[in-house]
Symmetry: C2
Subunit: 262 residues, 2 copies
DNA sequence: GAGTGGTCTAGACCACTGT
DNA sequence: CAGTGGTCTAGACCACTCC
């Protein structure tokens, strides 16, 4: 015999999948479910917890439990890289009004709120290995938060690392007050004579940490996409590495790979 | 004041992050925690549930609660596409002994167990839109499961769709008993004169459904990576679309984008 | 104030693991 | 068999939302 909370969860899940309960609809209240199922409060709650962990429902304290509504997706393509490279050499006037995020979202600079902070750190063992430098090497750690001006939470958490020796010949690159930098990282690197040859992106997925869920405003039952982006210059050196955390329920990454013709 | 279960969870999380509790270590038993914290059983359980949802711990009925151990990752690169394209034209002898999965995992054919099933379906509205065909168009739906022979669960769930009209001139392509096909889908398509020009991959992340968690053997507190791969031929037609579900805790996808030189 | 979900208690019994 | 986590009950009180 199935467990009581599973029976309740199965019943509700079936109703959602069949469309009898659609996105945004309110589920029966917990006390209703206690009455109709003849089960205790905690048992009903466990059933709802299961559905919440699956990302099917969302509880709203004091209002009720609702079928989760899909969020408007943000698309992020790898065509952006060639676009960013080209833009790095564009005249400043052109670089000012637009960034890669604006390109992804189709929005203007005014619709987005941008925040950056710089800090100098020494490379930890793990980071040193990933960057191919010695442990303790001086790095510039830059953290970025970007959000829609209409929303409370950022839609990505970015930590970027530069090797200080490579960039310090331009002191502006160590100064966070110069952000947002027209033309972004790619233009910053150009000012110290660096051209990017290729981008490597490593993607994994996992549940958010409490801190990530908090910063991104993620409800229970969502995942994050974790992207580690590495920029290689034309001498095959790693010149930047960044970790990007994206909400899994609203991010779609599109990678296009072109192949040689026969 | 913080909630009781959060205090307990915070304390244990801090111990794990500090390394005082390492991967594979057993946590204090629930009854121990009831004694040491002076809280009730359900409260302690809720604290552990929080950590489980974060993917930090794993409960084993009758044995105890353990710090989650990272699983051996499977890497999947987009360099595989050019490799698959090249292999599609290789002599059969060469195609027999190796596939893209073997390439990704570095294993031989004997270490992997392969299963395929074919079915004919009509295109649903959603699928028709994604494939760019009319609703109801005849499709060949192929489902694949591949697992390590040493493990019980497959490491990916694949559903592939072909447009029947495009492939039926070679009846072997409608016959699941011809699987595993040497040279895979790319060679199958070559037999009906199709050359692939580019691959589009859309990646998102979410918690697994119950069915996915069951098939992939995923413990609570893991996510799945969902990949929708679309193959375009040299006439810019969509010739295959597949949905791949991968365990987020053991899959790393690597995408390399090469850029034009200045 | 009525209705909702959130937290917590005290305790019972079951199911699984290892000795 | 002892120890572990899994399920379930009956009920209390709190916190939030909306009217």
């Amino acid at each position: 015999m199935a467990k009581a909370y599973e029976e309740i969860a199965d019943e509700l899940r079936a109703q959602i999948r069949a469309g009898r309960l659609g996105p945004g609809d309110r589920l029966p209240s917990e006390s209703d479910l206690v009455r109709t199922t003849g089960r205790s409060g905690p048992t009903v709650q466990q059933a709802l917890r299961v559905l919440q962990a699956e990302g099917l429902i969302e509880k709203q304290h004091g209002r009720g439990t609702f079928v989760r509504r899909p969020r408007t997706p943000i698309e992020r393509t790898n065509a952006r890289h060639q676009w960013e490279k080209d833009r790095a050499r564009a005249p400043e006037r052109q670089r000012l009004g637009t960034g890669a995020t604006e390109r992804d979202t189709g929005l203007g600079v005014d619709d987005l709120v941008f925040h950056a902070a710089y800090r100098e750190i020494g490379a930890s063992k793990e980071i040193a290995a990933a960057l191919g430098v010695a442990e303790g090497t001086a790095l510039v750690e830059r953290t970025y938060r970007t959000r829609y001006s209409a929303e409370r939470n950022p839609f990505s958490l970015v930590t970027s690392l530069l090797i200080r020796d490579l960039v310090q010949q331009n002191p502006d690159l160590l100064d966070e007050t110069k952000e947002p930098w027209p033309g972004g990282t790619w233009n910053q690197l150009l000012t110290v004579g660096i051209e990017i040859d290729r981008v490597e992106e490593r993607v994994t997925a996992r549940p958010p940490t409490v801190e990530e869920a908090d910063e991104l405003g993620l409800p229970p039952g969502t995942s994050v996409l974790v992207l580690r982006k590495t920029l290689y210059d034309t001498d095959d050196r790693i010149v930047e590495m960044s970790d990007v955390t994206l909400p899994g329920d609203r991010t779609e990454m599109l990678f296009t790979t072109h192949l040689e013709r026969w």
